[in-house]
């Protein structure tokens, strides 16, 4: 069921949020999904699962943001949260060297478990506290480049850099999805990656599935 390029399709992406408890990842994502019009009415599971609909120059994106348990004692549970994800936002606190080390550990693990299919964003949060900075931007940027990730600087407190981060991530995930679509087309429709791929959903009502091609893995 390869979707034809362009037109009325929409992307559905899962993004996991990783980082230690105190780095401000929760306020960051709340900043992004709560908005000024919605009188702080955070829906459903509140900060742990949030969704956002975007329309980027005509292409619809459904973004599901999964908070993951960040406490050290829960570390082994990571794979349960990050399986099937298209992107990861790895947050550290620029005043806390240790939280940057934790991000490096997550990067290693994600690359090992999910390979290069996942778009990684390394985010230095709390740039409003620049005078207490303990992780230099140059170091973080060169590390990010060395692992094929992109580096961003944000402040949840000042609501700075967050929208740009997620917009950029979405564009990268759309690009990755389109590359995967094309390579699937060339590979004779064999969806080797199974359910890990993005879902591209046609907006028109679906015709009833007729074959056994929709494997549910």
């Amino acid at each position: 069921m390869a979707a034809a390029g362009g037109g009325g399709k929409s992307f559905s992406f899962k993004v996991v949020l990783l980082g230690e408890g105190c780095v401000g990842k929760t306020s960051m994502v709340l900043r992004y999904c709560e908005n000024k019009f919605n009188d702080k009415h955070i829906t459903t599971l509140q900060a742990s699962f949030l969704t956002k609909k975007l329309n980027i120059t005509g292409k619809r994106v459904n973004l599901a943001i999964w908070d993951t348990a960040g406490q050290e004692r829960f570390h082994a549970l990571g794979p349960i949260y990050y399986r099937d994800s298209n992107g990861a936002v790895l947050v550290y606190d620029i005043t806390d060297e240790d939280s940057f080390q934790k991000v490096k550990n997550w990067v290693k693990e994600l690359r090992k478990m999910l390979g290069n299919d996942i778009c990684l964003c390394i985010v230095g949060n709390k740039i409003d506290l620049d005078k207490d900075r303990n992780v230099s931007t140059e170091e973080a940027e060169s590390y990010a480049a060395s692992v094929g990730a992109k580096h961003y600087r944000t402040s949840a407190k000042l609501n700075s850099g967050i929208e740009e981060l997620f917009l950029d991530l979405c564009k990268r995930m759309m690009e990755a999805a389109q590359v995967e679509e094309r390579s699937k087309g060339n590979g004779g429709g064999q969806s080797a990656s199974g359910r890990r791929g993005v879902q591209i959903v046609d907006d028109e009502p679906q015709a009833p599935p007729t074959g056994g091609c929709c494997s549910s893995g």
Binding site: L30, F37, A47
Partner: protein
């Protein structure tokens, strides 16, 4: 969750706005404002080009928002309130929000609203007309005479199942999936039925199919999963039994969430009464929502994050004595075909799976052992 959705780029009002008033579109993007877009169902029979576009374009002003023609706008409780005064002259429900980015990467918000703002009568909006089929009774009523055809297919399946009950899980997942497909084809052959589907909030047919089909085959499949997972369940129950002394602070339940525990337990006690994987997932979601309720609505400071939720679920797993967690999780994971692996129900399921995994790893026994090293059951 399945809620109202439409592609705004194809909405006749939005299309007309872009074509007839590029000036407004350009301005709203530059000012990061809001465009109110009546849902497409509410526009039937009206001449969209005659709607007063300036009443639908909202821009930020000093202490709030106003429309391009100068009316005050407030947003409260998922309603758009237009005009000043108490009560405001016009209030229209918001169906969903979408953030648009134009070619210059300027962003603005679309609020899809249930009807045009100048339509006086708040007739039944789509959210009222659209139904969620969430219980077996609703599904039966919806299916009407089709239920007999489905019953026949389900009967055939059950008959064939007895001959294959020794095959592995994979075989049964495929065969249940096949049954789903046949049931869907059966009901969709009927054009009348298809037109009724249009009125469903869960426009994806699988929802009703799942509930109905699984009710029919639940005892077979759930028993099978129960048998396959029996030893895992026994091992898990052995661990949880050893944890009966555990208190909520041992697992790190936040104080402000502990008041929800008994209500959450009540919700979770319904789990084994649900027959379909979808209904079971909805039960887990209800548990998670109940467990993380905060008393005031101003939650953004005390937002519940994944760690908080996981701690509460851990406590509930230990205290609830549901004897077949492994069977339940495997049933939900493997037999819920319509579910995306990215939605809220999947998040709930993952949280429960994470909690079970944590207990299986023996981490809580370690907590108890550390807390009371002199205790006879404590292991070093």
């Amino acid at each position: 969750m399945a809620v109202y959705d439409e592609n705004i780029a194809k909405n006749p009002f939005f299309v007309a706005l872009e074509k007839l008033r590029p000036d407004l579109c350009e301005r709203v993007a530059r000012l990061h404002g809001i465009v109110l877009v009546p849902c497409c169902g509410s526009l039937e029979g009206s001449m969209v080009s005659q709607l007063h576009f300036d009443s639908y374009v909202v821009q930020p002003v000093e202490d709030g928002y106003q429309t391009a023609d100068g009316k005050e706008v407030r947003i409260l409780d998922r309603q758009v309130l237009l005009g000043s005064g108490l009560p405001p002259p016009v209030s229209v429900p918001i169906l969903f929000e979408e953030t648009f980015y134009n070619a210059k990467e300027e962003s603005y918000s679309i609020l899809c609203i249930s009807r045009p703002v100048d339509a006086a009568e708040p007739g039944p909006g789509p959210e009222a007309a659209r139904r969620h089929l969430r219980s077996l009774e609703e599904v039966k009523e919806f299916l009407g005479r089709h239920s007999h055809k489905l019953d026949k297919l389900i009967g055939n399946f059950c008959h064939a199942f007895k001959e294959h009950d020794r095959k592995g899980l994979r075989h049964h997942i495929d065969s249940v999936h096949g049954l789903y497909t046949r049931c869907l084809q059966c009901v969709l052959r009927d054009c009348f039925f298809f037109s009724r589907l249009g009125g469903l909030a869960d426009a994806r047919p699988p929802c009703f199919r799942q509930v109905y089909v699984h009710h029919g085959i639940h005892s077979l499949i759930f028993n099978l999963v129960g048998t396959l997972e029996a030893s895992q369940d026994a091992a898990f129950n052995k661990i949880t039994r050893s944890l009966h002394e555990l208190q909520h602070k041992d697992v790190g339940v936040k104080a402000h969430l502990s008041i929800n525990l008994s209500a959450a337990k009540r919700e979770l006690s319904q789990l084994n009464q649900q027959t379909s994987p979808l209904l079971k997932l909805l039960c887990l979601r209800k548990v998670a929502l109940t467990a993380t309720r905060t008393p005031s609505r101003a939650v953004s400071m005390e937002a519940v994050c994944a760690d908080d939720l996981l701690s509460v679920i851990l406590y509930l797993l230990v205290k609830m004595e549901i004897p077949n967690w492994m069977a339940n999780l495997s049933y939900m994971r493997n037999f819920c075909f319509s579910q995306s692996s990215k939605d809220e129900l999947s998040y709930c399921l993952s949280t429960f799976e994470a909690a079970v995994e944590y207990i299986k790893l023996g981490k809580l026994q370690h907590v108890l052992a550390v807390r009371s090293p002199a205790h006879p059951t404590a292991r070093s």
